[in-house]
Amino acid sequence: MKAIIEVKNLSFSYTSQSAGRLPAQPILKHITFRVIQNRFLTIAGPNGVGKTTLINLLCGQLRAQAGSIIIDNAHIESYSVGKLAQKVAVVRQEFVPIFDFTVAEVVSMGRTPYLGTFGFEGKTDRAVVSEALEATDTAQFALRPLGSLSGGERQRVFIARALAQNTAILLLDEPTSFLDLKHQVGIYDLLKEMQLEKGKTIVAVTHDVNMAAQYADEILLLGADNSYYIGKTKDVFKPEQIEKVFGVRVFTCNIKQESFFLPLGKFAKASTHINSKLSSKQEE
């Protein structure tokens, strides 16, 4: 089993210059993990623990102060920007670009790392692009401006662009955070399909522990105190672990082996039921 991403002893802190007047504080500290080729890894954890930072480190957007990242047997620093873009594609939260690019134009931009001096797509490029459009079911609105699509459709377009980039690794930073339930599931189904049918290695950041549990092979759970847990989903996502890391009480329910977690706030209706049960138990 070949590891395509190897992170060793990685530490990162935003320097005081880029973080304003705050003193430098390590956001990631001594993190070590590896991602096996063709696996689906989800990075979960509360706000501000460095999930997005980790994605930005993995795609070369940021440089770590200590430790190393090895992508496909070579140090990430040894890649040029263009070569790295042939290994790793990134999908961030969907957005509307400033100019009215059409869907086909945006997906074609995925070919940028492969283009020559004048930057025109050749036959192969166009074939890859139309394949990416088909695979993500976005070919139907290829000629429409991106801004005229719904959020879920737009996110599919950005995934299509990542496919057109033809990389072994797909990184996603909260790809579904603005989407409704149907579109969330749609995006995760699409990602799973990419993993199973196209052999992609997928690393996705999410807040949604249940979605992560349902689709990922492995979980990297980042905690606020620079702690982290890595492993198979069922080993990492235990109720006590989730309560500790997220700092919230959860109600756990199981469908066969699969666990689902529901957060319970102080005034949540279910919360009062559980509280009264607990207190009546105590009275007995």
Binding site: L84, E105, G119, F120
Partner: protein, 343 residues
């Protein structure tokens, strides 16, 4: 089918637009206060200078002026396209980084100090305008580079601040200078295309065309950069390098056109938008087509400027501003609702 631009379809479009430009140039050369007989023009210059008046007017006066307008129009439109993409701001124009006020200050300095030597046969005004523009752009770039992590925003702010500061100095100099010193400067500030001697015209044409070609080679990266810095890097674009090339060459061709013809407003703003509305935002196509349309637009505007109040002439900047002002307001209303360019 036609969903993605190909090199072939681009070449066809560019050739068609060039043909249209040639027609515009021909027609505008024929239009003027003095009636010119084509038959007499083709008879040649004649043996002694001034023998064939028709030839002198058409080839000696109007044609260079039309070529100059084409050159300046193309440079300003290209510069506008590039700066709008790099700054990710649809309201950016070639002067946004302080070129106008820097060049203005240079010209003011030349006028007040009474320098009268000439450079390459050109007037000191052109030279000082170019020097002022380049120094100011460098200053804005330097300030923007050192004031923040979000380079685009700090560049914009630096440009605005430097523009305001230099404009204040220009006003101060205007108020203390003698009126006859200032009158030529005021015409210059309004944008004025007048005859230039041929060596200056050819050197400038070479520089501007070379600049446009360099910008064309980065145009596919501009597409990606318009999506944002992180997106561009993720797609394998060397953001810092692309940005420096874009800024440097956009500033260079703008500075040359400013030194040739003063401050001609709105061309660099409305032509890119007009072209984008018609041809879409793909910069590989937008850049060359904007250059051609900008050239045609300024030729027409200059033709109007020289015939509309004949025998007097208007500064061409007045025409472009009168045509461009309302258009700009429509854009402002349209875009400020729709586009989140501060994302």
């Amino acid at each position: 089918m036609g969903q993605v631009l190909t090199a072939k379809s681009l070449v066809i479009k560019v050739l068609l637009c060039l043909a249209a430009l040639a027609v515009v140039m021909g027609l505008c050369t024929l239009i003027g206060t003095q009636k010119v007989s084509l038959k007499r023009v083709f008879a040649g210059p004649g043996s002694s200078p001034g023998e064939n008046i028709d030839y002198e007017i058409l080839i000696g006066i109007r044609l260079p002026r039309v070529l100059l307008a084409a050159l300046v129009g193309a440079a300003l439109a290209c510069s506008g396209v590039v700066l709008q993409a790099i700054l990710r701001n649809p309201l950016a124009d070639p002067y946004i980084l302080g070129i106008s006020s820097g060049a203005g200050l240079g010209v003011m300095t030349a006028a007040i100090s009474g320098i009268s030597w000439s450079f390459l046969g050109g007037s000191p005004i052109g030279f000082f305008a170019f020097a002022g523009a380049i120094v100011t752009v460098w200053l804005v770039w330097y300030i923007g580079h050192f004031t923040g992590k979000s380079q685009v925003t700090s560049l914009l702010l630096a440009g605005v601040v430097v523009n305001a500061f230099f404009s204040a100095i220009i006003m101060f100099l205007t108020s203390i200078a003698k009126s006859e010193q200032v009158i030529s400067t005021i015409f210059w500030l309004m944008g004025n295309i007048t005859g230039k001697n041929l060596p200056v015209l050819f050197v400038s044409a070479g520089c501007i065309l070379a600049g446009i070609i360099v910008l064309f080679t980065i145009s596919h990266r501009l597409n990606v950069l318009a999506l944002g810095q992180a997106e561009a890097k993720g797609l394998g674009v060397d953001v810092a390098r692309t940005r420096i090339i874009a800024f440097a060459f956009a500033a260079f061709i703008t500075a040359i056109s400013v030194s040739l013809s003063g401050l001609i407003g709105f061309v660099g703003l409305i032509i890119p938008h007009g072209a984008r509305l018609v041809f879409g935002p793909d910069h590989r196509q937008l850049l060359p087509l904007s250059a051609i349309i900008g050239a045609a637009f300024l030729i027409i505007a200059d033709t109007i400027a020289r015939v509309i109040v004949a025998p007097a002439q208007l500064p061409v900047g007045v025409i472009t501003a009168i045509a461009g002002g309302p258009f700009f307001l429509i854009l402002l209303a349209r875009y400020s609702r729709k586009v989140s360019w501060l994302k």
